[in-house]
């Protein structure tokens, strides 16, 4: 039972991280019909910015966190303005490849800065010792995991309010519903695209911080964690924010349970699944769900005309 709870807690905190990246994916896809492969790169760049400010420059942690996350949002905005704006109306295929190009650029620059030694994120509460952890009923809960969960829930609620109440939120919903109709109603669609990338960048930076915070550290392979939000988005349906959250929970929990129960399973069945199977499980689920439901669990079915 303790093992089960432990796996659940870790799975949920992963789900929180995935959902942050996944919502960014969905926002961009809904508004621009672009699947941005640059999202994982934005996440690790955000982490890199926070680390360079907090550890190398000695900026107080909270200010570094704030500046790093805002800068990543601005970076998203710049990427949209410089690289994606000229591609409006181009085939989906080309734009997806273009975002891969952006991903290569950002990550190479970051890898050069990271070097061989992993980077630390800094610590707001040195007395806890690397973000610390608590024992509740035999389950180890890291404070960072709680923070990730709380942040994700807070951001999801805030975004929900933003989309329903604020002027720009409503404009974003209108744009994703029908770009031309939105233009005709006087909505500045270009500005909306920029805003979408800004928000996606901020979400990615939060995710990046929680991926690399504490003992996890930022290394050249950290982006793989953020990339695993992709199966989450696909499971939920590329154009559904609730879907992204549900998908993230499915993926996070699967990963958690597989990590803890793989060994028992192997002994029970005599099969060997190999090292790091828990990292593969999300993609297997994505594989199966795409076969059964090509539009994901919550996605809208695409109607096509010849």
């Amino acid at each position: 039972m303790t093992v089960f709870l432990q796996a659940t807690v870790e799975g949920l905190s992963l789900a929180a991280i995935y959902s942050l990246v996944a919502i960014g994916f969905v926002l961009i896809y809904k508004s621009m019909d672009v699947l941005s492969f640059a999202q994982p790169a934005l996440a690790v760049v955000g982490a890199g910015l926070i680390s360079s400010l907090a550890v190398d420059r000695g900026v107080p942690f909270w200010i570094a966190l704030f500046i790093g996350i805002s800068l990543t949002g601005v970076l998203g905005l710049i990427v949209e303005r410089t690289f994606l704006r000229p591609m409006v109306g181009e085939p989906v295929f080309s734009v997806a490849i273009l975002t891969i190009g952006i991903d290569i650029l950002l990550r190479t620059t970051l890898d050069n800065w990271i070097g061989l030694n992993p980077r630390y994120m800094g610590d707001p509460f040195p007395s806890f010792g690397n973000f610390g952890s608590a024992q509740i009923a035999g389950v180890t809960i890291k404070y960072l995991e709680i923070a990730a969960l709380a942040t994700a829930i807070f951001i999801i609620i805030a975004l929900n309010i933003f989309f329903r109440k604020s002027k720009y939120g409503v404009a974003m919903r209108a744009t994703s519903f029908d770009q031309e109709a939105a233009l005709a109603q006087g909505i500045n669609v270009g500005r909306i695209f920029g805003l979408v990338w800004f928000i996606a960048g901020i979400l990615a930076a939060f995710a990046g911080f929680f991926i690399t915070g504490g003992f996890n550290t930022l290394s050249q392979t950290s982006f793989v964690v953020a990339l695993r939000a992709l199966p989450a988005v696909v499971i939920g349906g590329l154009d559904s924010i609730p879907g992204a959250v549900v998908g993230s929970i499915i993926i996070g929990l699967t990963q958690g349970y597989v990590a803890y129960y793989q060994y028992d399973f192997e002994i029970l069945t005599g099969l060997t699944l190999g090292n790091g199977f828990s990292l593969l499980a999300p993609y297997l689920i994505m594989f199966v769900i795409l076969i059964l439901k090509p539009d994901g669990l919550f996605g809208t079915k695409e109607v096509e005309r010849v």
Binding site: L35, F83, P86, M87, E90, V92, F93, S94, A96, I97, L98, I100, G101, I102, D103, I104, L105, T108, T109, D111, N112, L227, L230, P231, V234, L238, T272, G274, N275, G276, F277, L280, Y283, L284, M286, F287, L290, I291, P294, D295, E304, V306
Partner: protein, 367 residues
């Protein structure tokens, strides 16, 4: 008609491999030049060109499925991997940990392609149900599954971080690893390899051109331009999507197997996401859907770093004097190329070549 080479009186003539004498002439010149190159150039350049030739075979493969049939795939690297390991098991040397049967090249080279093609049929039913981004994501899942298997199937791949030796060059029972002596003249291994890559690349290139101008090629173009419309016109979607994936993987397997003999050893970590992205990027840079595009793209990808290294060598600059190391310079250059080509020249290097050619065709009366 002899005096008017650009006048086509029937379809066969226009779709011929070389539609006019100019093309025949330049192909002959290029052929003679590239054969004689192996006796003139240094080993450094011979190896680079051999690698480019094998990479362009793989790039033709992804050009069938992405360029012609319009299905985005991110699993091409996995099929290359399957080809490499098939060849390595059949043609490689066994050791304590890995299998190897030391068979002839006549067996392992086609087998590499065929096994990769058979594996690609796993994707076929999915490719029919899905399209566009969803298909790309399924192939992405396939890629991660493959790379997991690669790093855990130790008796075939040698395991993650360790790798294994690849297939040996043994043709008709003659071991070509030590070179081939004709009287006093010794043809070295690199030269043999280069000539072999050249012929293979030519065969595969003509094969690609033939696919383009055949019934299958027209069906692929139909699927790319509108699969529902193509289906309504009687194109069997299942057959042609499956055959596009199978052909692409055949090319991938053969190209990969040949490329692996140049590097000598492979580590399963090579066949990661970046490797598959590389395949896509090569045809984007070269020009998707064109015959010459993949060749241009592959040469660009392999030769550009070669030139950078060469420039560093002749200017006596060391790597430490630069802000980035060589791999990073290559990666940044590569990422920039993808972005700039997509924005400014979506037809890739082939598009540039096409415009240059047309400019000089009418020179000096260009308009």
């Amino acid at each position: 008609m002899k005096s008017r080479p650009n006048l086509y009186t029937n379809y066969d003539k226009e779709s011929a491999i070389f539609s006019n004498n100019t093309q025949k002439f330049w192909f002959a010149v290029l052929f003679v030049l590239s054969v004689s190159l192996c006796f003139v150039a240094t080993d450094y350049w011979i190896l680079l060109i051999s690698r480019s030739l094998t990479f362009s075979i793989g790039a033709w493969g992804i050009n069938i499925v992405s360029g012609l049939a319009g299905q985005i795939t991110l699993a091409h690297g996995s099929f290359i991997g399957i080809g490499v390991y098939t060849a390595a098991v059949l043609g490689g040397v066994a050791s304590n940990s890995v299998w190897g049967y030391e068979l002839d090249m006549l067996i392992w080279l086609p087998a590499a392609g065929i096994v990769a093609a058979l594996f690609s049929l796993i994707l076929a039913p999915l490719a029919v149900r899905l399209k566009g981004l969803n298909l790309a994501l399924v192939t992405l899942a396939f890629l991660f599954i493959c790379s997991h298997i690669f790093s855990n199937f130790i008796s075939v791949t040698g395991g993650a971080g360790i790798g294994r030796k690849v297939a040996k060059l043994v043709l008709f029972g003659i071991n070509l690893e030590e070179g081939l002596a004709f009287g006093n003249f010794l043809l070295e291994k690199n030269q043999i390899q280069y000539l072999f890559c050249l012929f293979l690349c030519m065969i595969m290139g003509f094969g690609f051109k033939n696919i383009v101008r055949s019934r299958a090629g027209r069906a692929y173009a139909g699927i790319r331009d509108g699969d529902i419309a193509a289906e309504a016109l009687g194109v069997n979607l299942f057959r042609y999507k499956a055959s596009a994936f199978a052909l692409a993987s055949f090319y991938a397997g053969v190209g990969g197997a040949m490329a692996s003999t140049i590097s000598g050893g492979v580590e399963p970590g090579l066949f990661n996401l970046l490797f598959s992205i590389l395949a896509v990027a090569i045809i984007v840079i070269g020009g998707a859907g064109t015959v010459l595009g993949p060749l241009f793209g592959a040469f660009f990808y392999i030769m550009a770093p070669g030139f950078i290294q060469y420039i560093l060598k002749i200017t006596h600059l060391t790597e430490s004097a630069l802000p980035l190391n060589l791999g990073q310079i290559e990666a940044i250059l590569f990422g920039l190329c993808i972005i700039l080509f997509l924005i400014f020249e979506p037809r890739g290097l082939w598009g540039i070549w096409f415009r240059l050619r047309n400019y000089f065709k009418a020179w000096p009366f260009s308009y």
